[in-house]
Every structure is written in structure tokens, then in C-alpha cells.
């Protein structure tokens, strides 16, 4: 059977894969029973190799809504449905995904496997908290429902389990009722990083959503100058309070030649973004689409980093000492001159149920690094050691370069995960390139 080159959103690494397309649960069961090692693959919106393996089972044909209870806001859907498709259904009916990542194109199954967080983690946790039940097909082909009551260990290992415990066929999710599809946003320009962090911590009870864009190329006194965006769901107003997003996207037509992205062009871009807002503070009403998914407007924006792709580096570190460590890391990045357009800063609330879930109470920062030779990988591995030493961790859904030893230091519940995985997948049938790299078996 032929193979297809596959890659995550970062376009690195590329893996030749044999892809199956099951169209109903029966075929999923057949594939599980085949005994072949494989991985369920959704929309490939994780950045590194979490979604890659030499043999994958695409969940994209399994993309249907199954049940909806408007009184409870409870939705049951197949794992291959994208958030985009889910939004098209639930927004006009006055519901919103309880937690949403920064793009609307991943699948529900992928979001559960990565136990994604949004700009509301500090108040509401990860998506996993709103998942009531998972319908799974296990390694032996058996169909199992798991929840906080039934097979609770499997449930907790599957939230954030990177697809390594079994196939997720469908999930039942509690949606959030909304009056309008608009977000009332307060944007504050801050001089430096400390001010941004302070503002986010101070306003945490006042705003459901908070995020900051940080210019990490600015040096000296401007180190960490940022725009902090705080938001709440707006009440109904106007003619079309539950307006849906448009499906139009502007294409990035080709992989940009690498010359376009250099330290000078990126610095200029960051200054432009920062200076765009003249006043220190601005209050406005923004539709959910540009608020939550600004980059989705650019179809295949990942190509702007060029053919060799990029690494997205997202780490979380505890509040205590976090500010100093982040300043140190930002200093290293600015000195390296290898940073991204922007860095995204958020705060996290308490840890979640998922055994391998990423968030821990503290700060989280995400940055892009274009891949230009091996220097950047070495540099990020040094940062990994710094983060692990401070009791922090990196986000597996974005990772392509973490080493097994650092991984074990970052995820203290690793042994618990391994034990549950062995119980439900004794022959290690569910694998991924990430799992092989990190010794997740």
C-alpha cells in the first residue's frame, strides 16, 4: 500500500505514513484487531510529531454529531469532527465550546488527546473538565465507555493521553451557553513583561479570558513589552447576536523563501503590532473568530516560516520564581536573535485530571522558532533543562525535540500513565513518533 508524506502543523518532522480511512465504528474495530501498531490521526494541527506515525488511522471520516440536548448543553459527537464544524452547529443555537485552543481546525478527538487549554484555563481548566464520557475502541477491538464513574483510570489517562490508550470514537461534552458570539475585550499595552504578568494575575477574577502578546525581540528596557487582552462573553446586542464566522480564508500560496524572515523583519513586525495601539488601554467588542482564531484567517499560515518548517516551543512554569525564570529565558531568546513574531503568554489555574495533561498553576509562554539548521534544536534543549529544573514542563502537542530524560523530569505522573497504558494496551499497539521518542510505552 502506498505511503503519503505527513507532517504536523510545524512541517517538521515529515514522516512517510500509510493511512487508513475508517468510515464507521466497525472498521475502527477491525483496524484495532489487526494487531498492527498505529496511531489515530485527526487534522494534524499539533505542531511536532505527536500526530505522526508510520501507520495512521485517520479520524476525519468520523466527523458527525450524534446527539444534542439543548436543555443541558450536552453534545455527543464523533472524534473526527473539527471545532469549526462544531461551532457551525452550536453558535447559532447559543452555545460555545467550553474551552478552545487558538485555532478552530483541530478535531475534537485531537483536542481531547492533547487535553487542550484556552485563554480561560486560569478559571476553568482544560477541555477535559467538560468531557463527560468517551467511547473508545481498545487494542483488543473491544468497545468501552469511560467516564469519571466507568473505567475512571482509562478516562484520566486518555485526557491528554496523546492517543496512546486506544481509539477515541466519540465524546460527550458539556457546552457553554452564550448570549452572543461576541467577546468584550479590554486591551492594555504594558511596558514590560512584569507589568503584563502582574496585570493578568490581578484581573483573573474579573475576566474569563486573558492572554498577552509579547514582543520578545525587543531588548533592554523594552524587554517583554506586550499587549494584554482580557475578555468576557458579551451580552446579546444588535440584529445578529449569534453571528457565525465566515468560511473565507486568505491563502499563503507557497512556502516563503527563508530570506523574508530574518531578525530585522521580525523586529519590525513586532514593533508594528505593539505600536498599532496608541492608547494604553482600549475597550471594544470583537467577534469570537478574530478573538480566538486570529491566524485561521490565513489559510496554511505555517508556510510563512519556509519549507524547513518551524518549532513551536510552549512551556509552563510555577508562579513562584516564574517571573525571574521567564525573564531569563526571554533574555536568552533575545540574545539568540532567533525568536518569533510574537510570544503568547497565559496564566494557568490548578492542574487538571489528565495524567499527562500539560497545565500546572503558573505562567505559560509559547513562541515560534523557524528551523534553520540544528542550532535552534540545541538551544531549545538547553531551555528544556532550565524549565525542567524549575519544576516546569513543555507541551507535548507542540513538541518535536524533547528528550526522554527531560520528559521524565517534567511529567511526574509518567509511571502512573505507563501502568494504565500497559493495562489497556499491553502490546503497545497505540504508538506515535512522539511516544517512541519519549519512551511512552
Amino acid at each position: 500500500m502506498e505511503t503519503t508524506p505527513t507532517a504536523g502543523w510545524g512541517l517538521y518532522p515529515v514522516v512517510e505514513a500509510r493511512i487508513d480511512h475508517p468510515r464507521h465504528p466497525g472498521e475502527l474495530i477491525g483496524l484495532a484487531q489487526s494487531g498492527q501498531p498505529h496511531l489515530a490521526q485527526g487534522a494534524c494541527r499539533s505542531y511536532g510529531d505527536a500526530c505522526l506515525y508510520e501507520r495512521v488511522v485517520s479520524t476525519l471520516p468520523l466527523r458527525h454529531l450524534l446527539e444534542f440536548d439543548p436543555a443541558q448543553g450536552r453534545l455527543r459527537a464523533q472524534a473526527g469532527i473539527t471545532l469549526d464544524s462544531l461551532l457551525r452547529f452550536c453558535v447559532p443555537r447559543g452555545f460555545f465550546p467550553p474551552v478552545t485552543p487558538g485555532t478552530k481546525f483541530p478535531t475534537l478527538g485531537g483536542c481531547i488527546a492533547a487535553d487542550v487549554h484556552g485563554k480561560n484555563h486560569h478559571r476553568q481548566g482544560t477541555l477535559g473538565r467538560f468531557v463527560e464520557e468517551l467511547e473508545m475502541v481498545l487494542a483488543d477491538g473491544s468497545q468501552v465507555r469511560c467516564s469519571r464513574r466507568e473505567h475512571p483510570e482509562l478516562f484520566r489517562a486518555t485526557l491528554g493521553g496523546m492517543g496512546l490508550t486506544g481509539f477515541i470514537y466519540a465524546a460527550t461534552l458539556r457546552l457553554k451557553p452564550i448570549e452572543s458570539s461576541y467577546i468584550s475585550v479590554r486591551t492594555v499595552r504594558t511596558r514590560d513583561f512584569a507589568e503584563a504578568c502582574q496585570l493578568m494575575v490581578e484581573t483573573r477574577d474579573e475576566y474569563l479570558y486573558s492572554v498577552a502578546w509579547i514582543d520578545c525581540l525587543a531588548r533592554g528596557r523594552g524587554l517583554g513589552r506586550s499587549l494584554v487582552m482580557l475578555g468576557n462573553h458579551a451580552p446579546a446586542r444588535g440584529d445578529e447576536p449569534l453571528k457565525l464566522h465566515s468560511c473565507r480564508q486568505r491563502p499563503v500560496p507557497f512556502n516563503f523563501p527563508e530570506i523574508f524572515l530574518n531578525p530585522w523583519s521580525m523586529r519590525a513586525f513586532n514593533t508594528l503590532i505593539y505600536r498599532h495601539q496608541w492608547r494604553r488601554e482600549r475597550q471594544r467588542l470583537v467577534h469570537y473568530d478574530p478573538y480566538f482564531y486570529p491566524l485561521d484567517a490565513l489559510y496554511r499560515w505555517n508556510r510563512i516560516y519556509g519549507r524547513r518548517g518551524f518549532l513551536q516551543y510552549q512551556f509552563a512554569i510555577p508562579f513562584a520564581g516564574g517571573l525571574e525564570l521567564m525573564r531569563e529565558i526571554l533574555g536568552h531568546i533575545a540574545a539568540q536573535g532567533a525568536g518569533s513574531f510574537l510570544a503568547v503568554l497565559k496564566t494557568f489555574g490548578p492542574e487538571d485530571e489528565g495524567v499527562l495533561s500539560f497545565p500546572l498553576p503558573g505562567y505559560t509562554l509559547a513562541l515560534d522558532f523557524p528551523l534553520r539548521g540544528g542550532g535552534i534544536i540545541r538551544f531549545l534543549r538547553q531551555l528544556n533543562r532550565l524549565v525542567a529544573g524549575a519544576g516546569g514542563r513543555v507541551y507535548l502537542a507542540k513538541d518535536a525535540i524533547l528528550e526522554e530524560e527531560d520528559f521524565a523530569r517534567m511529567y511526574p505522573r509518567l509511571e502512573e500513565f505507563r501502568r494504565i497504558k500497559r493495562q489497556y494496551d499491553p502490546h503497545n499497539q497505540f504508538r506515535s513518533c512522539l511516544a517512541d521518542r519519549l519512551g511512552l510505552r
Binding site: 468520523l62 458527525h64 454529531l65 446527539e67 457551525r88 452547529f89
Partner: protein
């Protein structure tokens, strides 16, 4: 309220068309083999559009399934105004050259079976009176016999002729007949085939079909440029064509 019967509802084109029809207010009967597998798809359509979507177990190659089909569907699910025939079997040409069962399956599914179903539906729609329609999915492969797929092509060519005759017969009635000739469409049927070009999405094809049906077009090539590609291919003199490897 109008209702459409879609035969071969597991195909990607059928599902894209079903979605468009339901969004425009049609109730649906989705007929297919092992139709239970379509339940998630039907549930999705019901939830999103609020339309009535029923499933119907149907296998064209099985004796006795075609006769009285329309009356049985109408009796159980309610009268319908539109019949859409999407089922087909591409088969493997090379195998059909040596394996009679494969050749027979290609011919029976795409032509004999399809013609019997169309005839059955035409009788029902004509007898029922009032506006109605038949949409038959044929193929550009039916426009000229080529060594790479002439079994499928011949059957689809026959289907195109049958639809043409049916259109002629029903021209004085309010039942409209649309022949659809898609080019390469990105579906499970074509996945992994070599030599495909200008591949269209099922959604694009479904949109074209619905637009053509509303405008009462007779023959639709989709995407549109296939009309000109096939015009060119049809006009290559046979003496030259027979030596080509198309």
C-alpha cells in the same frame, strides 16, 4: 414538504448532495447497502437541519429489491418528488478482462441495475403527477471507450443514453431528468488511484448538481471544463484514438 430518495447514499457525492438538500429544506430517504452504517451521518443531518432523514436498506444486485421500490419507500417514508441515483461500482478494468464476475458486477451495478431503478422511479414519479425530478450520476468515462476503463465506461455510457431516452419520454411531463457527468472527484472510490488530475471535491460537485437541477439543465459536466475536455476527446478520429494510451 418535499422529499428526496438518494440511492447509493454512502458515496461522498451522495453525502455532500444530501447535506445540501437537507440544508435547503428537503426531507431525505438515504438508501444503501448496510444502511445502518449511515446512522451517524443521518443523525448529524437531523441535528443540523431539523429535517426528517430515514435510512433504507438497498442492494441493487439483489433480486426483488428494485421491483415496487418506489411504492414501498413512499408507503413507509411518505411520497417523494426527487430520485437521485448515485450508486456505482468502479471495479478494476484489468480484472474485468479475465474475471467474468467482476465484469458482470461492473455492468449490472452501473447499467442494468441503474436502468431498472430509473425505470421504476420514472414510473412512480410520472404516475404520482406533479413536479418531480430524476438525477442520475453517470461519468465522463461514458463518453468514449478507453482501454483503461471501458467496462465501467461502457456501462456509464449506457446509463447516459438511458437517461437521455428517459428525458425524452418525460419531456412533456413535469418530471425533469438531469444527467451528471463528473470528472475526477476526491472520494473513497478514487482514493489511491494513479493518474488523476483536476480532482474536484464532492462538495463542489454537489453544489454544481443542485444548481443545474434548479435551472433544469439536461446534462451537467462537473467541474464545467470537462465538457470541453470530453468534446476534444470525443472528436479524436478513431484511427488515431485506438493507438493512444489514455
Amino acid at each position: 414538504m418535499s422529499r428526496a430518495l438518494i440511492l447509493g447514499a454512502k458515496s461522498a457525492i451522495a453525502q455532500a448532495l444530501a447535506r445540501r438538500l437537507a440544508e435547503e429544506g428537503w426531507d431525505l430517504v438515504l438508501a444503501a447497502r448496510q444502511s445502518g452504517q449511515l446512522e451517524p451521518f443521518a443523525a448529524d443531518l437531523r441535528l443540523r437541519t431539523g429535517r426528517e432523514v430515514r435510512l433504507w436498506e438497498f442492494e441493487v444486485l439483489e433480486g426483488g429489491q428494485v421491483e415496487g421500490l418506489a411504492a414501498r419507500v413512499a408507503g413507509e417514508c411518505g411520497p417523494f418528488e426527487l430520485g437521485v441515483l448515485v450508486f456505482g461500482y468502479l471495479g478494476v478494468q484489468r480484472r474485468a478482462e479475465v474475471d467474468r464476475a467482476e465484469l458482470a458486477r461492473i455492468l449490472h451495478t452501473n447499467f442494468t441495475g441503474a436502468a431498472l431503478v430509473l425505470s421504476e422511479l420514472a414510473g412512480y414519479l410520472e404516475g404520482k403527477g406533479g413536479p418531480g425530478g430524476l438525477i442520475g450520476i453517470s461519468s465522463v468515462a461514458g463518453d468514449r471507450g478507453r482501454q483503461s476503463n471501458y467496462a465501467y465506461g461502457a456501462a456509464k455510457g449506457g446509463l447516459s443514453l438511458f437517461l437521455q431516452g428517459l428525458r425524452n419520454r418525460l419531456a412533456s411531463s413535469p418530471v425533469h431528468v438531469l444527467t451528471v457527468k463528473p470528472g475526477f472527484v476526491d472520494t473513497p472510490m478514487t482514493r489511491g488511484l494513479e493518474g488523476l488530475f483536476l480532482v474536484a471535491s464532492p462538495e463542489k460537485v454537489a453544489g454544481d448538481i443542485l444548481r443545474a437541477y434548479k435551472k433544469k439543465k439536461d446534462i451537467l459536466y462537473t467541474p464545467w471544463f470537462w465538457r470541453y475536455i470530453m468534446y476534444f476527446i470525443k472528436n479524436i478520429p478513431e484511427g488515431i484514438f485506438k493507438r493512444l494510451k489514455l
